[in-house]
Amino acid sequence: METKKKFWINETLDSSKELKSVPISENLRKRLEAIPKSIEIFDRRIPMKAVWLAAASIALLITVNIATFNKTQKFESQESTVYNDYFSYLNQL
């Protein structure tokens, strides 16, 4: 039993020696050979200038939004102070 088991284990381990190299499929070869072209197309389609321009536009948009928000907040707080003063004046009458 032990010998049979040992034999089976060794045979199973040695089955990796029977392994043959698998050739790549024609489809994969075409995909691999197309890599330089696909990278070139990507580079051509999106020039770096356009990428920087888009990034700058986004940054500008965010800055304008923050500035507007801050201005609105300040205006609202000023407005509420004016209202409070007016109502307190009315209450005193």
Partner: protein
């Protein structure tokens, strides 16, 4: 370490194979760095099959191996200028391949992670054999045995699995495996030795459960 184990360890050292890699003298490396399509095609012809077979051995899935091979080749093309020639080109490519395969497996296991309960008494000692990967490089009569072996390899810890696959399936010598895995020669020897011991143990458990 018992006497048969010592003998096995010595035989592993003696049978350490020598490299015979055509990439050692890849003449078009400068053209490749300039982005030449023909140099890239030559490189594909030389190493794509090796990269694919290594990926297939580690990932044990043909579709995944094809996708990862494409990813590896893209990385090689994009970062060839970072290759300084400190190691062989094949070593550099194998290092990228191993990293990409391990990265892919980690991503996959993160997605697939589900409750997996192993009894406490078996958690340390047994390795679950549960896979039905039929390697296309095996003859039909060896397919079943190969599936059992691949399932056992799949259950090995990540580094043991990588070292064993590089040595036993890809016939890469110890020195090169050490460079690929960024480790020492003795660490590689130990990893492969422990991998074989673990495989023997899990195959023995499998035999007792199924062949009785």
């Amino acid at each position: 370490m018992s006497f048969p184990n010592v003998l096995e360890f010595i035989s592993l050292l003696l049978h350490n194979k020598k490299s015979n890699n055509p990439l050692d003298d890849f003449p078009e490396i400068e053209a490749l760095k300039k982005g030449s399509q023909s140099a890239f095609n030559s490189l594909i012809q030389l190493f794509s099959q090796k990269v694919y077979n290594l990926s297939l051995g580690i990932l044990q899935n043909e579709q995944d191996a094809e996708d990862v091979t494409q990813e590896i080749c893209t990385t090689v093309f994009l970062s060839i200028n970072q290759f300084k020639g400190d190691s062989k080109l094949s070593t550099w490519i194998y290092r990228i391949s191993v990293n990409k395969c391990q990265e892919f497996l980690r991503k996959k296991s993160r997605k697939k992670r589900v409750g997996f309960i192993i009894p406490l008494d078996k958690a340390e000692t047994t390795i679950q054999i549960s896979s039905n990967f039929m390697h296309p490089g095996l003859e039909l009569e060896n397919q079943e045995r190969g599936a059992i072996l691949f399932a056992a390899i799949n259950a090995l810890p990540e580094n043991q699995k990588t070292a064993f696959t590089l040595y036993n399936l890809e016939s890469i010598p110890y020195e090169e495996i050490a460079q690929i895995m960024n480790t020492s020669l003795s660490a590689v020897e130990s990893l492969i030795f422990r991998a074989r011991q673990n495989l023997k143990k899990s195959l023995s458990d499998y035999y007792e459960e199924n062949e009785r």
